[in-house]
Symmetry: C2
Subunit: 238 residues, 2 copies
Protein backbone atom coordinates (compact mmCIF):
# COMPACT_ATOMS: atom_id res chain seq x y z
CA UNK A 1 0.00 0.00 0.00
CA UNK A 2 1.22 3.45 -0.91
CA UNK A 3 0.24 6.34 1.32
CA UNK A 4 -1.25 9.44 -0.23
CA UNK A 5 -0.14 12.72 1.33
CA UNK A 6 -2.31 15.76 0.67
CA UNK A 7 -0.69 19.11 1.21
CA UNK A 8 -0.17 22.43 -0.55
CA UNK A 9 2.25 21.75 -3.38
CA UNK A 10 4.60 24.74 -3.16
CA UNK A 11 5.57 24.95 0.51
CA UNK A 12 7.11 22.83 3.23
CA UNK A 13 4.63 24.05 5.83
CA UNK A 14 3.07 21.55 8.19
CA UNK A 15 3.24 18.87 5.53
CA UNK A 16 7.01 18.76 5.90
CA UNK A 17 6.80 17.13 9.34
CA UNK A 18 4.90 14.28 7.69
CA UNK A 19 7.26 14.11 4.69
CA UNK A 20 10.24 13.74 7.01
CA UNK A 21 8.57 10.88 8.89
CA UNK A 22 7.65 9.12 5.66
CA UNK A 23 11.20 9.57 4.38
CA UNK A 24 12.80 8.18 7.55
CA UNK A 25 10.34 5.28 7.57
CA UNK A 26 11.18 4.50 3.96
CA UNK A 27 7.44 4.39 3.34
CA UNK A 28 6.34 4.81 -0.27
CA UNK A 29 3.90 7.67 -0.79
CA UNK A 30 2.45 9.96 -3.40
CA UNK A 31 2.61 13.69 -2.73
CA UNK A 32 -0.77 14.05 -4.39
CA UNK A 33 -1.13 17.80 -4.89
CA UNK A 34 2.26 18.03 -6.56
CA UNK A 35 1.04 15.84 -9.39
CA UNK A 36 -1.14 16.87 -12.31
CA UNK A 37 -4.75 17.16 -11.20
CA UNK A 38 -3.71 16.66 -7.59
CA UNK A 39 -4.98 19.98 -6.27
CA UNK A 40 -8.48 19.15 -7.50
CA UNK A 41 -8.26 15.83 -5.66
CA UNK A 42 -7.17 17.59 -2.49
CA UNK A 43 -10.03 20.07 -2.72
CA UNK A 44 -12.53 17.30 -3.38
CA UNK A 45 -11.57 15.55 -0.15
CA UNK A 46 -11.94 18.84 1.73
CA UNK A 47 -15.32 19.67 0.22
CA UNK A 48 -17.14 16.52 -0.86
CA UNK A 49 -20.24 15.71 1.19
CA UNK A 50 -19.36 12.04 0.76
CA UNK A 51 -16.34 12.32 3.07
CA UNK A 52 -17.81 11.35 6.41
CA UNK A 53 -14.76 12.33 8.49
CA UNK A 54 -13.56 15.48 6.73
CA UNK A 55 -10.26 17.21 7.49
CA UNK A 56 -10.44 20.82 8.65
CA UNK A 57 -7.31 21.62 6.62
CA UNK A 58 -4.27 19.99 4.99
CA UNK A 59 -2.08 18.11 5.65
CA UNK A 60 -3.97 14.86 5.57
CA UNK A 61 -2.89 11.33 4.84
CA UNK A 62 -4.78 8.57 3.11
CA UNK A 63 -3.74 5.16 4.41
CA UNK A 64 -5.95 2.59 2.77
CA UNK A 65 -9.42 3.45 3.99
CA UNK A 66 -8.20 5.77 6.71
CA UNK A 67 -8.18 9.52 6.11
CA UNK A 68 -6.13 11.16 8.87
CA UNK A 69 -5.68 14.88 9.42
CA UNK A 70 -3.83 17.11 11.88
CA UNK A 71 -0.05 16.86 11.66
CA UNK A 72 0.53 15.49 15.17
CA UNK A 73 -2.25 12.95 14.68
CA UNK A 74 -0.73 11.74 11.41
CA UNK A 75 2.60 11.37 13.18
CA UNK A 76 0.97 9.46 16.04
CA UNK A 77 -0.34 7.03 13.43
CA UNK A 78 2.92 6.77 11.46
CA UNK A 79 4.97 6.54 14.64
CA UNK A 80 3.12 3.42 15.74
CA UNK A 81 3.20 1.82 12.29
CA UNK A 82 6.83 2.45 11.45
CA UNK A 83 8.70 2.27 14.72
CA UNK A 84 9.07 6.04 14.98
CA UNK A 85 7.80 6.07 18.57
CA UNK A 86 8.21 3.83 21.61
CA UNK A 87 5.74 0.97 21.90
CA UNK A 88 4.98 1.39 25.61
CA UNK A 89 2.30 3.82 26.77
CA UNK A 90 4.60 6.14 28.72
CA UNK A 91 6.97 6.53 25.76
CA UNK A 92 4.19 7.00 23.24
CA UNK A 93 2.57 9.73 25.32
CA UNK A 94 5.91 11.45 25.95
CA UNK A 95 6.77 11.63 22.25
CA UNK A 96 3.29 12.89 21.43
CA UNK A 97 3.56 15.49 24.19
CA UNK A 98 6.83 16.75 22.68
CA UNK A 99 5.23 16.83 19.23
CA UNK A 100 2.29 18.89 20.48
CA UNK A 101 4.73 21.35 22.06
CA UNK A 102 6.47 21.58 18.68
CA UNK A 103 3.05 22.17 17.07
CA UNK A 104 2.52 25.12 19.42
CA UNK A 105 5.87 26.57 18.40
CA UNK A 106 5.00 26.10 14.71
CA UNK A 107 1.74 28.02 15.16
CA UNK A 108 3.55 30.82 16.96
CA UNK A 109 6.26 30.98 14.27
CA UNK A 110 3.51 31.39 11.68
CA UNK A 111 1.68 34.04 13.67
CA UNK A 112 4.79 36.22 13.88
CA UNK A 113 4.25 37.23 10.25
CA UNK A 114 0.46 37.04 10.51
CA UNK A 115 -0.40 38.36 14.00
CA UNK A 116 -3.71 39.95 13.00
CA UNK A 117 -5.17 37.27 10.78
CA UNK A 118 -4.21 34.58 8.32
CA UNK A 119 -6.75 35.99 5.85
CA UNK A 120 -4.77 39.24 5.45
CA UNK A 121 -1.53 39.82 3.57
CA UNK A 122 1.75 40.25 5.42
CA UNK A 123 1.97 43.76 4.02
CA UNK A 124 -1.28 44.63 5.76
CA UNK A 125 0.04 43.63 9.17
CA UNK A 126 3.72 44.43 8.83
CA UNK A 127 3.86 46.92 11.68
CA UNK A 128 2.15 44.47 14.01
CA UNK A 129 4.44 41.69 12.78
CA UNK A 130 7.48 43.73 13.82
CA UNK A 131 6.17 43.98 17.36
CA UNK A 132 5.21 40.31 17.40
CA UNK A 133 8.70 39.35 16.19
CA UNK A 134 10.31 41.24 19.07
CA UNK A 135 8.38 39.15 21.59
CA UNK A 136 8.95 35.95 19.68
CA UNK A 137 12.72 36.51 19.48
CA UNK A 138 13.16 37.80 23.03
CA UNK A 139 10.89 35.33 24.83
CA UNK A 140 9.48 32.49 22.82
CA UNK A 141 12.47 31.19 20.83
CA UNK A 142 14.64 31.04 23.97
CA UNK A 143 11.85 29.43 25.97
CA UNK A 144 11.03 26.71 23.46
CA UNK A 145 14.59 25.88 22.39
CA UNK A 146 15.73 26.05 26.01
CA UNK A 147 13.00 23.57 26.89
CA UNK A 148 14.19 21.03 24.31
CA UNK A 149 17.79 21.57 25.45
CA UNK A 150 16.65 20.74 29.01
CA UNK A 151 14.82 17.63 27.83
CA UNK A 152 17.97 16.38 26.08
CA UNK A 153 20.13 17.24 29.07
CA UNK A 154 17.93 15.34 31.50
CA UNK A 155 17.48 12.37 29.19
CA UNK A 156 21.24 12.06 28.58
CA UNK A 157 20.62 10.15 25.39
CA UNK A 158 21.02 10.59 21.65
CA UNK A 159 17.39 11.42 21.00
CA UNK A 160 14.53 13.15 22.80
CA UNK A 161 12.91 9.94 23.99
CA UNK A 162 15.98 7.75 24.41
CA UNK A 163 18.51 5.93 22.28
CA UNK A 164 16.13 5.52 19.34
CA UNK A 165 14.92 8.25 17.02
CA UNK A 166 11.23 9.23 17.17
CA UNK A 167 9.07 11.44 15.00
CA UNK A 168 9.56 14.27 17.52
CA UNK A 169 13.29 14.28 16.72
CA UNK A 170 12.55 14.67 13.02
CA UNK A 171 10.22 17.55 13.85
CA UNK A 172 12.77 19.25 16.09
CA UNK A 173 15.26 19.06 13.21
CA UNK A 174 12.69 20.80 11.02
CA UNK A 175 12.09 23.48 13.66
CA UNK A 176 15.80 24.30 13.79
CA UNK A 177 15.99 24.46 9.99
CA UNK A 178 12.92 26.67 9.82
CA UNK A 179 14.09 29.07 12.51
CA UNK A 180 17.52 29.27 10.90
CA UNK A 181 15.92 30.19 7.61
CA UNK A 182 13.52 32.74 9.07
CA UNK A 183 15.74 34.26 11.75
CA UNK A 184 19.39 33.67 10.76
CA UNK A 185 20.70 36.60 12.81
CA UNK A 186 18.80 35.52 15.92
CA UNK A 187 19.71 31.86 15.55
CA UNK A 188 23.41 32.55 15.07
CA UNK A 189 23.56 33.75 18.66
CA UNK A 190 20.98 31.29 19.98
CA UNK A 191 22.61 28.12 18.68
CA UNK A 192 25.57 28.49 21.04
CA UNK A 193 23.21 28.12 23.97
CA UNK A 194 21.60 24.90 22.79
CA UNK A 195 24.47 22.53 21.98
CA UNK A 196 22.42 19.38 22.56
CA UNK A 197 19.61 20.53 20.27
CA UNK A 198 22.17 21.35 17.58
CA UNK A 199 23.89 17.97 17.98
CA UNK A 200 20.49 16.31 17.62
CA UNK A 201 19.82 18.38 14.51
CA UNK A 202 23.10 17.14 13.01
CA UNK A 203 22.38 13.55 13.98
CA UNK A 204 19.00 13.67 12.25
CA UNK A 205 20.44 15.35 9.14
CA UNK A 206 23.06 12.61 8.87
CA UNK A 207 20.60 9.72 8.83
CA UNK A 208 20.89 8.19 5.38
CA UNK A 209 17.21 8.34 4.44
CA UNK A 210 16.77 11.86 5.77
CA UNK A 211 19.96 13.00 4.00
CA UNK A 212 18.76 11.44 0.74
CA UNK A 213 15.38 13.11 1.10
CA UNK A 214 16.89 16.52 1.86
CA UNK A 215 19.04 16.29 -1.27
CA UNK A 216 16.12 15.25 -3.46
CA UNK A 217 13.47 17.20 -5.37
CA UNK A 218 11.00 16.10 -2.73
CA UNK A 219 12.38 18.78 -0.40
CA UNK A 220 10.79 22.07 -1.44
CA UNK A 221 13.06 25.02 -0.58
CA UNK A 222 11.88 27.35 2.18
CA UNK A 223 10.06 30.37 0.78
CA UNK A 224 7.89 33.31 1.79
CA UNK A 225 4.60 31.46 1.43
CA UNK A 226 5.31 28.90 4.14
CA UNK A 227 5.34 28.87 7.91
CA UNK A 228 8.95 29.96 8.28
CA UNK A 229 9.52 33.11 6.26
CA UNK A 230 12.63 35.18 6.01
CA UNK A 231 11.67 38.81 6.32
CA UNK A 232 14.92 40.54 7.34
CA UNK A 233 12.98 43.32 9.07
CA UNK A 234 11.61 40.77 11.56
CA UNK A 235 14.99 39.22 12.42
CA UNK A 236 16.11 42.04 14.68
CA UNK A 237 16.53 42.17 18.38
CA UNK A 238 16.39 45.37 20.34
CA UNK B 1 -5.63 5.79 42.43
CA UNK B 2 -6.55 9.45 42.41
CA UNK B 3 -5.34 11.57 39.53
CA UNK B 4 -3.57 14.82 40.25
CA UNK B 5 -4.41 17.68 37.88
CA UNK B 6 -1.98 20.58 37.78
CA UNK B 7 -3.30 23.82 36.36
CA UNK B 8 -3.51 27.52 37.21
CA UNK B 9 -5.96 27.79 40.09
CA UNK B 10 -8.03 30.81 39.09
CA UNK B 11 -9.02 30.18 35.48
CA UNK B 12 -10.77 27.56 33.37
CA UNK B 13 -8.24 27.85 30.57
CA UNK B 14 -6.92 24.71 28.94
CA UNK B 15 -7.29 22.82 32.21
CA UNK B 16 -11.05 22.94 31.82
CA UNK B 17 -11.02 20.47 28.93
CA UNK B 18 -9.35 17.99 31.27
CA UNK B 19 -11.69 18.80 34.19
CA UNK B 20 -14.73 18.11 32.00
CA UNK B 21 -13.33 14.73 30.94
CA UNK B 22 -12.52 13.78 34.53
CA UNK B 23 -16.02 14.84 35.61
CA UNK B 24 -17.76 12.84 32.88
CA UNK B 25 -15.56 9.82 33.63
CA UNK B 26 -16.42 10.08 37.32
CA UNK B 27 -12.69 9.81 37.98
CA UNK B 28 -11.53 11.04 41.38
CA UNK B 29 -8.84 13.72 41.19
CA UNK B 30 -7.17 16.46 43.13
CA UNK B 31 -7.02 19.89 41.53
CA UNK B 32 -3.60 20.38 43.08
CA UNK B 33 -2.90 24.09 42.60
CA UNK B 34 -6.25 25.04 44.13
CA UNK B 35 -5.18 23.53 47.44
CA UNK B 36 -2.88 25.09 50.01
CA UNK B 37 0.72 24.75 48.91
CA UNK B 38 -0.39 23.45 45.54
CA UNK B 39 1.14 26.19 43.42
CA UNK B 40 4.56 25.40 44.88
CA UNK B 41 4.03 21.76 43.94
CA UNK B 42 3.06 22.75 40.40
CA UNK B 43 6.14 24.93 40.03
CA UNK B 44 8.38 22.22 41.39
CA UNK B 45 7.24 19.80 38.72
CA UNK B 46 7.87 22.45 36.06
CA UNK B 47 11.34 23.33 37.35
CA UNK B 48 12.88 20.43 39.22
CA UNK B 49 15.87 18.85 37.47
CA UNK B 50 14.68 15.51 38.83
CA UNK B 51 11.67 15.46 36.49
CA UNK B 52 13.01 13.54 33.52
CA UNK B 53 10.04 14.20 31.23
CA UNK B 54 9.15 17.80 32.11
CA UNK B 55 5.99 19.54 30.89
CA UNK B 56 6.47 22.71 28.85
CA UNK B 57 3.44 24.27 30.57
CA UNK B 58 0.28 23.39 32.52
CA UNK B 59 -2.06 21.59 32.35
CA UNK B 60 -0.46 18.31 33.27
CA UNK B 61 -1.82 15.21 34.88
CA UNK B 62 -0.16 12.84 37.28
CA UNK B 63 -1.51 9.32 36.89
CA UNK B 64 0.48 7.05 39.16
CA UNK B 65 4.01 7.27 37.79
CA UNK B 66 2.96 8.91 34.55
CA UNK B 67 3.27 12.67 34.16
CA UNK B 68 1.33 13.72 31.06
CA UNK B 69 1.21 17.22 29.57
CA UNK B 70 -0.47 18.88 26.58
CA UNK B 71 -4.27 19.03 26.83
CA UNK B 72 -5.00 16.85 23.79
CA UNK B 73 -2.45 14.30 24.94
CA UNK B 74 -4.02 14.10 28.41
CA UNK B 75 -7.40 13.57 26.74
CA UNK B 76 -5.96 10.87 24.49
CA UNK B 77 -4.84 9.07 27.65
CA UNK B 78 -8.09 9.61 29.58
CA UNK B 79 -10.19 8.75 26.55
CA UNK B 80 -8.63 5.31 26.30
CA UNK B 81 -8.81 4.66 30.05
CA UNK B 82 -12.36 5.81 30.67
CA UNK B 83 -14.27 4.96 27.52
CA UNK B 84 -14.31 8.55 26.30
CA UNK B 85 -13.09 7.54 22.84
CA UNK B 86 -13.74 4.65 20.45
CA UNK B 87 -11.51 1.61 20.96
CA UNK B 88 -10.77 1.00 17.28
CA UNK B 89 -7.90 2.80 15.55
CA UNK B 90 -10.00 4.75 13.05
CA UNK B 91 -12.31 6.08 15.78
CA UNK B 92 -9.47 6.93 18.13
CA UNK B 93 -7.64 8.89 15.43
CA UNK B 94 -10.83 10.67 14.35
CA UNK B 95 -11.63 11.87 17.86
CA UNK B 96 -8.04 13.00 18.37
CA UNK B 97 -8.13 14.82 15.04
CA UNK B 98 -11.25 16.70 16.14
CA UNK B 99 -9.60 17.52 19.46
CA UNK B 100 -6.51 18.93 17.75
CA UNK B 101 -8.74 21.10 15.58
CA UNK B 102 -10.42 22.34 18.76
CA UNK B 103 -6.95 23.02 20.19
CA UNK B 104 -6.18 25.21 17.18
CA UNK B 105 -9.37 27.16 17.77
CA UNK B 106 -8.51 27.59 21.46
CA UNK B 107 -5.10 29.02 20.56
CA UNK B 108 -6.69 31.42 18.08
CA UNK B 109 -9.33 32.50 20.61
CA UNK B 110 -6.53 33.33 23.03
CA UNK B 111 -4.50 35.20 20.46
CA UNK B 112 -7.42 37.51 19.66
CA UNK B 113 -6.75 39.37 22.91
CA UNK B 114 -2.98 38.78 22.76
CA UNK B 115 -2.06 39.09 19.06
CA UNK B 116 1.40 40.59 19.65
CA UNK B 117 2.65 38.46 22.50
CA UNK B 118 1.48 36.58 25.56
CA UNK B 119 4.15 38.34 27.61
CA UNK B 120 2.49 41.75 27.13
CA UNK B 121 -0.68 43.07 28.77
CA UNK B 122 -3.92 43.29 26.84
CA UNK B 123 -3.83 47.05 27.29
CA UNK B 124 -0.53 47.16 25.43
CA UNK B 125 -1.98 45.44 22.36
CA UNK B 126 -5.57 46.62 22.44
CA UNK B 127 -5.53 48.30 19.05
CA UNK B 128 -4.06 45.19 17.44
CA UNK B 129 -6.57 43.03 19.32
CA UNK B 130 -9.44 44.98 17.77
CA UNK B 131 -8.15 44.22 14.29
CA UNK B 132 -7.52 40.59 15.19
CA UNK B 133 -11.05 40.27 16.58
CA UNK B 134 -12.52 41.50 13.29
CA UNK B 135 -10.80 38.66 11.41
CA UNK B 136 -11.65 36.12 14.07
CA UNK B 137 -15.34 37.05 14.08
CA UNK B 138 -15.71 37.41 10.33
CA UNK B 139 -13.69 34.38 9.24
CA UNK B 140 -12.52 32.03 11.92
CA UNK B 141 -15.58 31.55 14.15
CA UNK B 142 -17.79 30.80 11.12
CA UNK B 143 -15.18 28.49 9.62
CA UNK B 144 -14.57 26.44 12.78
CA UNK B 145 -18.18 26.22 13.97
CA UNK B 146 -19.34 25.56 10.42
CA UNK B 147 -16.85 22.71 10.24
CA UNK B 148 -18.23 21.03 13.37
CA UNK B 149 -21.78 21.56 12.09
CA UNK B 150 -20.76 19.77 8.87
CA UNK B 151 -19.20 16.90 10.83
CA UNK B 152 -22.42 16.43 12.80
CA UNK B 153 -24.53 16.68 9.68
CA UNK B 154 -22.52 14.04 7.83
CA UNK B 155 -22.30 11.73 10.83
CA UNK B 156 -26.06 11.92 11.46
CA UNK B 157 -25.57 10.83 15.03
CA UNK B 158 -25.90 12.25 18.55
CA UNK B 159 -22.21 12.90 19.00
CA UNK B 160 -19.22 13.86 16.85
CA UNK B 161 -17.91 10.31 16.55
CA UNK B 162 -21.17 8.38 16.67
CA UNK B 163 -23.82 7.39 19.16
CA UNK B 164 -21.44 7.56 22.14
CA UNK B 165 -19.97 10.66 23.69
CA UNK B 166 -16.22 11.24 23.35
CA UNK B 167 -13.85 13.75 24.90
CA UNK B 168 -14.13 15.86 21.72
CA UNK B 169 -17.84 16.38 22.46
CA UNK B 170 -17.01 17.66 25.94
CA UNK B 171 -14.45 20.01 24.43
CA UNK B 172 -16.86 21.30 21.79
CA UNK B 173 -19.33 22.07 24.59
CA UNK B 174 -16.59 24.09 26.30
CA UNK B 175 -15.79 25.93 23.06
CA UNK B 176 -19.42 27.02 22.69
CA UNK B 177 -19.56 28.16 26.32
CA UNK B 178 -16.30 30.06 25.95
CA UNK B 179 -17.28 31.78 22.71
CA UNK B 180 -20.67 32.70 24.17
CA UNK B 181 -18.95 34.30 27.13
CA UNK B 182 -16.35 36.15 25.11
CA UNK B 183 -18.47 37.13 22.10
CA UNK B 184 -22.15 37.14 23.16
CA UNK B 185 -23.20 39.55 20.41
CA UNK B 186 -21.46 37.54 17.70
CA UNK B 187 -22.68 34.19 19.00
CA UNK B 188 -26.29 35.30 19.24
CA UNK B 189 -26.38 35.53 15.47
CA UNK B 190 -24.06 32.62 14.83
CA UNK B 191 -25.93 30.03 16.90
CA UNK B 192 -28.87 30.05 14.50
CA UNK B 193 -26.59 28.72 11.78
CA UNK B 194 -25.25 25.80 13.77
CA UNK B 195 -28.31 23.97 15.14
CA UNK B 196 -26.53 20.62 15.40
CA UNK B 197 -23.62 22.06 17.35
CA UNK B 198 -26.06 23.76 19.70
CA UNK B 199 -28.07 20.56 20.16
CA UNK B 200 -24.83 18.75 20.99
CA UNK B 201 -23.94 21.49 23.45
CA UNK B 202 -27.30 20.96 25.20
CA UNK B 203 -26.90 17.19 25.16
CA UNK B 204 -23.51 17.45 26.86
CA UNK B 205 -24.75 20.00 29.41
CA UNK B 206 -27.61 17.67 30.36
CA UNK B 207 -25.41 14.68 31.14
CA UNK B 208 -25.79 14.11 34.88
CA UNK B 209 -22.11 14.17 35.79
CA UNK B 210 -21.39 17.19 33.62
CA UNK B 211 -24.42 19.01 35.00
CA UNK B 212 -23.34 18.24 38.56
CA UNK B 213 -19.83 19.46 37.82
CA UNK B 214 -21.04 22.69 36.20
CA UNK B 215 -23.17 23.45 39.26
CA UNK B 216 -20.32 22.76 41.67
CA UNK B 217 -17.50 24.89 43.06
CA UNK B 218 -15.17 22.94 40.81
CA UNK B 219 -16.33 25.04 37.86
CA UNK B 220 -14.46 28.34 38.03
CA UNK B 221 -16.46 31.17 36.41
CA UNK B 222 -15.11 32.59 33.17
CA UNK B 223 -13.02 35.70 33.76
CA UNK B 224 -10.63 38.08 32.06
CA UNK B 225 -7.50 36.10 32.92
CA UNK B 226 -8.46 33.01 30.95
CA UNK B 227 -8.52 32.02 27.31
CA UNK B 228 -12.04 33.29 26.63
CA UNK B 229 -12.30 36.88 27.78
CA UNK B 230 -15.22 39.20 27.45
CA UNK B 231 -13.95 42.54 26.22
CA UNK B 232 -17.05 44.22 24.75
CA UNK B 233 -14.90 46.29 22.39
CA UNK B 234 -13.78 43.07 20.65
CA UNK B 235 -17.30 41.67 20.18
CA UNK B 236 -18.17 43.89 17.24
CA UNK B 237 -18.62 43.12 13.62
CA UNK B 238 -18.24 45.68 10.90
Amino acid sequence: MRYELYYWPSIQGRGEFVRLALAEAGAPYVDVARRKGGMAKLERLLESPRVKCPPFAPPFLKAGRLLIAQTANILLFLGARHGLAPKNEAGRLWVHQLQLTIADLVAEAHDVHHPIGSGLYYEDQKREAKRAAESFIAERIPKYLGYFETVLQRGRDSYLAGARLSYADLSLFQIVEGLRYAFPHTMKRREKKIPRVMALRNRVAARPRVAAYLASDGRIPFNESGIFRHYPELDRSR
